[in-house]
């Protein structure tokens, strides 16, 4: 089983397929869960405190908006932990953790330059594309080793 970073990080489809084929999807939910389940000071709704954009300085400079740095504080450690990534390149309608285009540009750049296997896809808009989409993911995950048969 390897850790696969999913983009969009909120993707239901990718989260499902990666897990279904025996690997561990890394995305927003895990980052948010970690914060929601950690004691500290109250900062609803996401338990992201003003300290998080400061942690985000590890991935983006101080002149980068706080919303980018705060999002990077959630996603950055998961990119660091990832062994592979699947990117859906036309993910224009994902919100919240994926709501900022500048963060998303930085995420994709970091995924591409980390030197790990990356699968690039687009959303399947027809059944034929759906077949290709699932097959490509199955093949990619299979090549990583250690997944489900």
């Amino acid at each position: 089983m390897v850790k696969v970073f999913i983009y969009p990080t909120t993707s239901l489809i990718l989260s499902d397929l990666v897990k279904r084929f025996g690997h561990e999807p890394l995305g927003s939910a895990l980052g948010i869960r970690e914060r929601i389940q950690t004691a500290g000071f109250e900062s609803p709704p996401l338990q992201i405190t003003p300290e998080e954009p400061k942690k985000g300085l590890h991935w983006a400079a101080v002149e980068v908006p706080s919303g980018v740095r705060g999002r990077m504080a959630i996603m950055g450690p998961q990119i660091d932990a990832a062994d592979a990534a699947i990117i859906i390149n036309d993910a224009d309608l994902a919100f919240g953790c994926m709501g900022c285009a500048r963060t998303n540009e930085l995420l994709i750049y970091l995924l591409r330059t980390k030197g790990m296997p990356v699968l690039n896809l687009i959303y399947p808009t027809t059944e034929e594309e759906g077949i290709a989409f699932v097959a490509a993911i199955r093949k990619f995950l299979g090549s990583l080793g250690g997944g489900a048969p």
């Binding site: 003003p50 908006p65 706080s66 919303g67 224009d92 994902a94």
Partner: protein
């Protein structure tokens, strides 16, 4: 308990900057609650597309579609709070265009703000208070005539002002530098009362505004404790005798600046802030000190000078001071330096704040800095208009407070 004022939030980034709680707290502190307008994905796609501004960030697309739902009345709200990250160009474009769109197409009060992770509820409080006041207290703000015997206090960051008014006339004034907030207020009030020849216990109602309003207001048992955005708007249109129709009020203060568009005496949009004290009255005070003149002499001096002769940019007060020192040591004429300082402050306010409100004539300048004629002149040149400075403009907050406080006399009886 009255129902909370409902404020729709259109934003990108506050949850991830760790400041959503600060927004919620600021709203709760003034009896308001924040909500997210509910729209479906289909509505979002349709309305974002129809708006016509092509951007990349999905959360900003959502904000645009939500704004449309509010303007078209599909979702009810009392006010709108637009917030995007400081230093985000895409966010700034959307923030400005949405504010403009909502103001033009609806009567909803709007506040827009660009935040960082350091934004606190305290910073947002005055803006949130003004927003809820405009939404909730339109009746109070409709008052055009002062009645009875009332007291108004404006506890500002530089100076504390007090006025006593009777039957729509100012009968006593006090103006002292702010040192200890409560003590300075007592002194200003004492001066105003003695000039008016009335005793404290004769006062029928009192109002307080400015930075120290909560402390001073509780000390004097004020009937009205109100932020300076709405109070100054009322004071400005009252003193300028322009209670009907549109106007713009500019108040360059000791610590921050306000630019407010007003219609029929009620504030519409406003901006409040100033990146640095370089764009405030403080810088002019420093200039006067360096030139060895009283602040009251700076204005007339500036009128004799030519600002272009001295390069000065007070975007930052430290750099502004540096230009000041350089100019003086380089032998520039004091008149030109004074004029350059006035121009620089006016330019900062023009660039940083007046771009965020629609300038409607007449433009009324108020507050202590409106007495510096060089500053008013420089602002007039930038805005290409003749600026109105009403009589007693330095007492704007105190007069606005005394005027609005008279609305409480009947309640007491």
């Amino acid at each position: 308990m009255t129902a909370p004022v409902r404020i729709a939030q259109l934003s990108c980034g506050p949850e991830y900057s760790g400041i959503q709680k600060e927004i919620n707290d600021a709203a709760a502190a003034v009896g308001a609650e924040i909500f997210y307008p509910e729209i479906s994905l289909k509505e979002m796609q349709r309305d974002y597309g129809a708006f016509g501004l092509d951007i990349r960030s999905p959360d900003l697309k959502l904000a645009i579609a939500r704004a449309k739902a509010l303007v078209e009345g599909r979702i009810e709200t009392d006010g709108v709070f637009i917030a995007t990250c400081f230093r985000c160009a895409e966010g700034a474009i959307v923030r400005n265009e949405l504010r403009r769109y909502i103001v033009e197409k609806s009567t909803l009060p709007v506040v827009s703000y660009s935040f960082t992770e350091r934004t606190t509820a305290g910073t947002l409080l005055t803006r949130m208070e003004a927003l809820t006041t405009i939404a909730r207290r339109r009746a109070l703000l409709a008052r055009e005539v002062q009645e009875g015997l009332t007291l108004g206090v404006d506890s500002g960051s530089s100076t504390t002002k007090a006025v006593v008014m009777r039957d729509n006339r100012i009968i006593g004034k006090g103006w002292v530098p702010t040192t200890e907030v409560a003590k300075s207020a007592e002194e200003a009030i004492g001066n105003a009362l003695s000039e008016a020849g009335v005793k404290r216990d004769e006062i029928q109602a009192a109002g307080a505004t400015g930075y120290g309003r909560h402390l001073v207001g509780s000390r004097i048992k004020a009937d009205l404790i109100q932020e300076e955005l709405t109070v100054n708007s009322k004071g400005a249109v009252y003193l300028a005798d322009h209670q009907k129709g549109p106007c713009t009020v500019i108040d360059i203060g000791g610590m921050d600046n306000k630019a407010i568009t007003v219609y029929d005496g009620i504030p519409g949009t406003f901006t409040m802030g100033g990146i640095c004290a370089g764009a405030s009255g403080r810088f002019l005070e420093m200039t006067a000190k360096r030139l060895g003149v009283e602040i009251t002499e700076l204005g007339p001096l500036a009128m004799k000078g030519i600002s272009r002769n001295v390069p000065m940019n007070s975007y930052c007060i430290v750099f502004g001071t540096q230009s000041l020192v350089n100019a003086l040591s380089g032998g520039s004429a004091p008149e030109d330096v004074a004029a350059a300082a006035c121009h620089s402050v006016a330019e900062q306010v023009f660039e940083q704040q007046l771009q965020e409100v629609e300038i409607k004539e007449p433009v009324i300048m108020v507050g202590g800095t409106s007495l510096i004629e060089g500053l008013v002149h420089a602002m007039g040149l930038l805005l290409q208009t003749k600026i109105v400075v009403p009589p007693n403009s330095q007492y704007i907050g105190a007069v606005g407070s005394a005027l609005l406080a008279s609305g409480f006399i009947r309640e007491k009886r």
